[in-house]
Symmetry: C2
Subunit: 139 residues, 2 copies
DNA sequence: GTATCTGCAAAACATTTGCAATTCT
DNA sequence: AGAATTGCAAATGTTTTGCAGATAC
């Protein structure tokens, strides 16, 4: 599901975001990470590389990225707000054993449900939980 | 979507939960409420009826209900943990204008996705956001 | 009388806000 | 210099934990 984007700096500019060092590194981490990181894991990963980095900046940056459509929030667990740089419609599966979150493709046609006929749908999320193939084997 | 359950006391007993006053009132509120309440709204609603009620008890009780399959968590928004006494498979639509969360039916067949073939799916959530019919009219 | 249940107070986290220092141009 | 960005420290909000008192069987 993850697309490796070569020119992250240009990506930011195209989205209308001035690419500071912090923003670039955060965005690169998001794009290259497979783990749908949280603010905390972004901060922990980057703080060795950018020792002055603060969590506030990570929060600010994630808000900025969201507002400009660069990332989507993955809210599969109630105590962790994760982020995904792949904003296309796809599903998320979380393993309750190892905690990993996997992407999976979905048909991009919304189900036709008559109860929804009069609502305007702008955003949709499909979340599954269970035991992943890996953990299933190791038990 | 909400089923009116007549004998809530028996419902609790069947689930293996001793029905205290607090638990009963909380469960009744959950079953009869259409709004997918949060801990806070449960507490606010019931504290006039049970003046000694504490939020800790509401948290404890919701945990207990979850563990015994009486409620499911609706995590459609990242800053509010809501609960639904209807644990059957159905979707949730949240209006970003008025904040209301609507239920809607879903076919109970999971989509067959080859990437999921080796995972064991135990739980699934389908969340939509947008503008509800009501808010659409009033604008 | 022993178990369980409740609820206060404090602790633990996650996130937001205000503001001063820093950086960029 | 002027505007935007960063990051510290404090505030806020939510959930958890420890424990003492109340309640149920």
């Amino acid at each position: 599901m993850k697309l490796k984007i070569k020119n992250t700096e240009e990506e930011l500019r195209n989205a209308g975001i001035k690419p500071s060092v912090q923003r670039l590194k955060i965005y690169e981490y998001l794009v290259n990470s497979l783990e749908h990181p949280t603010v905390d894991s972004i901060y922990n990963f980057l703080s060795s590389e950018i020792p002055t980095l603060s969590k506030t900046t990570v929060y600010n940056t994630m808000k900025l990225f969201q507002d400009n459509g660069l990332v989507m929030v993955v809210n599969i667990e109630d105590n962790e707000t994760r982020f995904d740089a792949d904003t296309s419609f796809h599903g998320h599966f979380k393993c309750t054993e190892c905690g990993k979150v996997y992407d999976f493709p979905l048909p991009n046609t919304q189900p036709k449900i008559k109860e929804l006929a009069n609502h305007i749908v702008k955003e949709s999320h499909y979340y599954l939980k269970g035991i992943c193939a890996n953990c299933k084997l190791n038990n």
